[in-house]
Structures are given as C-alpha cells and as structure tokens.
Amino acid sequence: MAVVKLFGAWTSPYFYRVIWALKLKGIPYECIEEDLLNKSPLLLQYNPVHKKIPVLVHDGKPICESTIIPQYIEEIWPQPSLLPSDPYERAMARFWIKFADDKLILLALSPSISKMYRASGEEQEKAVKYILEMLETMEDHGLIGGKKFFGGDKISMVDMAFGAVAHWLGVIEDAAGLKIFEAHKFPRLQSWIQNFKEVPIIKENLTDRDKMFALLKRRREMLLASK
C-alpha cells in the first residue's frame, strides 16, 4: 500500500509543483487523477475548505496547497534539498514562491479562473498586462547576475513555483492567439526556461502540450460561442 498519495489533475501546473518535488527526491507515490468538473468524495473529504487539487496524503494525513506541500516534503525527506540552507536565502526563496503563487493565478487552467484564454477585449488586455508585469519583475529582480536557476546553480522550489511560465504560458498563448512572452525582451527568463526544462525530471514530467492545446482551444471556442 502506498504511503504517499497525490490527488491532482493533468492540466494543472500546481499539481506538477508537487510531482517535481516528489520525483526529484525519489519518493514513490500513488497518483489519483481527479476530474475537476466532478470531484471525488475522497478529495472533498481531504480538502473540505478549498475542495481543490493538489492534495498530498501521507500516512492518511492530508496536506493541501501546492506551495505548502513541497515544504512539508522537504522537512520529511530533506535530501536532495530543494530550499537553501541559509535562513536569509531560504526567506528570499519563500518570498519568491509567494510572489509566484499570487501572480500565477491568472495562468491557472481552472475553468473559473483563467482570464487569459477565456476572455477577449478589455478583460484579456488587463490579464496580459498583469502577466507582463510579473515577467518583468522576474527578469529584473529574480534572475539578476546571470543565475542558472532562481536559487543559483541548483534547481529549487522557486523554479518549480514558476513552472507555469516555462511551459503552460506558451500553450495558453497559442490557444488564445496571443504573444506575451517575447524571448528577446526577456533574455534571462529565456535562459531560465531552457535550463529548467533541461533538468531530466522536469523534461520527463510536463503536461502533454498538444493535448492541453486541444482542450484549451475547445474551451475557448465554447466560451466565445456562448457570449
């Protein structure tokens, strides 16, 4: 019987934050795929407050929130470490993780949230502006000094928190017919995306791009038709 279970949904970058943490540390787990339009009673029992994925269940105890779960994993299985050991550096990592969490809400693919591919006109413009500001902050403040990853030479939880930018953003752009991230405007970010996706565990664990594109395209068409 698996000691670690993970409830998730294949489209969600939040889900992947936890998958990457588990796989980078070599922790075996059982994956339970949820249909977000028809959530299982078990999920609702484990996360009654938010009713969302991902949820990690360790020895029968549920832990929720994709930024809290990796910290829990780090504390139970410290090696290889995904957070700096120096308290100030660790605090800066937490700062960036919170920033990522707050800003990336617009890239969430949950039907009720994403304004990027679901909206048009002014609403979409506002969402695009918001994303651009986030990218600029990452470029100008997060990746100064030509660092390979946000924490330096090694991949950490901060990179994983920004995972949506490295993979999901591109698919959303295509589905919505937008071009937000221009590589020449964000050279550091462009390098980071390449470095991030070259890490073997990350490369092997990214949501199927074509499948996701097809889904988003369908959803967008349905939405625009119903307006």
Binding site: V49, H58, K61, I63, C64, E65, I68, I69, Q71, Y72, E75, I76, P87, Y88, R90, A91, M92, R94, F95, K98, F99, T137, H141
Partner: protein, 221 residues
C-alpha cells in the same frame, strides 16, 4: 544589537502588527520606523522595490518583505521561544490556516469594513462562514498553537480588531454570541503583555476606519 533589526511598519496594518508581536514574543530588540503610506520613505522603496509595502524587516542591512515570510525567518534565526510547531505536519497545518486567513478571511473582512448595504451584508455572511471554519481549529485548545501562543495565534490576532472596530463600519461581524470560542481566545490573548503592547487604541482605529469609508464613498461618486 537593536541597530541590527529594523522594522518598517504602519500602525493600522495587521501584517505589520503581527511582525511586531513576533519580535516582542521572542524578545528581539528592534528599531521601529513608522511609514506614511501616502508618502513612502526612500528607504522603504529602496529595500522593497517589488511591492513597496510594509511590513519590511531589515536585518544586518538585508531586507525581507511579506509578513509570513518574516515570521518564519525570525523563528529560524532566533531559536528561543519558537513560534512555529516542531512537527512537520503541524507546521504544514499552521501554514495552511495562515494562508486561509490572509487570502480569504482578511480580504472579506476588509470588504465588510469598507462597504455598505447589500455588499456589506454579503460580506458579513461570508465572514461568518470563514470564521466558523477557523473557530473549529480552536476547539479543545487554549490557543491555535496549543497550550501557549504561537505562529497561528500571531497571524490571527488581528481578529480581535474586527471585534473592536465593528462599530466604526456599522456592523459587528464578530459577536460573542456567534463565536464564543474565538471570544474566549481573544480574552486569553489580551492577558499577554506582548499582545497588549501591540494593541492599537480603539478610538484611533475606529477613526481610521471611518475616514477610510468616507474617502471610498466620495471616490465612488
């Protein structure tokens, strides 16, 4: 040693106050700098260029923003009087509830404080549901952290502000009849010296809320 730690804060900010409370509980000497949020100091803007907000902690010239991040940093750097639980699962739960307070409860409470009529009524309903959920975590315990005050109590202590500021926004969402367990917890909190030192004068706070409501009303006209 006091010069080592500086806190840029604002007296009416619950986020700023919770850092002060943590500093006091851990006996960490610090220099406090009150910020006028309508006229932010060059120091604040230099140290926190991304968000330009308070609270901002500066320790040995290194700046840190975000109150929850600061609380964890304080606990890891000053090991006496730990505020976070030792057990990883308890820590995850404390972090979960802190996030709930900051992302759900406080924004809804702000809505109640600044609105009127139907919007305020809806806000009050929402706050009640959220408070009920949170109150559950206090059942059978002296404090959120257990036998003594800890991280989640520090994060949540702003709740007793609703209680004292209720009259200023025309509605008291946190009544003792509806939330007896939270009320009992507040009574225990205010017996702690450090908490009392961080209390803001009720009238000053009520004036502040009234002013905010007026300016929002005139801005929307």
């Amino acid at each position: 040693m006091a010069e080592e730690v500086k806190l840029f804060g604002m007296w009416a900010s619950p986020f700023s106050r919770r850092v002060e409370l943590a500093l006091k509980l851990k006996g960490i000497p610090y220099e406090y700098i009150e910020e006028d949020l309508s006229n932010k100091s060059p120091s604040l803007l230099k140290y926190n260029p991304i968000h330009k907000k308070v609270p901002l902690l500066v320790h040995k010239e290194k700046p840190l923003a975000e109150s929850l991040v600061i609380l964890e940093y304080l606990d890891e750097t000053w090991k006496n009087n730990p505020i976070l639980p030792q057990d990883p699962y308890e820590r995850a739960m404390a972090r979960f509830w802190a996030k709930f307070i900051d992302e759900k409860l406080l924004p809804t409470a702000a809505k109640v404080s600044h609105s009127t009529g139907k919007e305020q009524e809806q806000g009050v309903e929402e706050v009640h549901q959220q408070l009920k959920i949170l109150e559950n975590e206090l059942k059978g315990k002296e404090f959120f952290a257990g036998q003594s005050i800890g991280y989640l109590d520090i994060v949540a202590h702003v709740l007793f502000w609703f209680y004292s500021a209720g009259e200023a926004s025309g509605v008291n969402a946190l009544t003792t009849e509806k939330f007896p367990i939270i009320y009992e917890w507040i009574e225990k909190l205010i017996k702690i010296d450090a908490v009392n030192e961080c209390r803001i004068p009720k009238e000053k706070h009520q004036d502040f809320i009234r002013l905010r409501r007026e300016s929002l009303k005139s801005a929307s006209k």
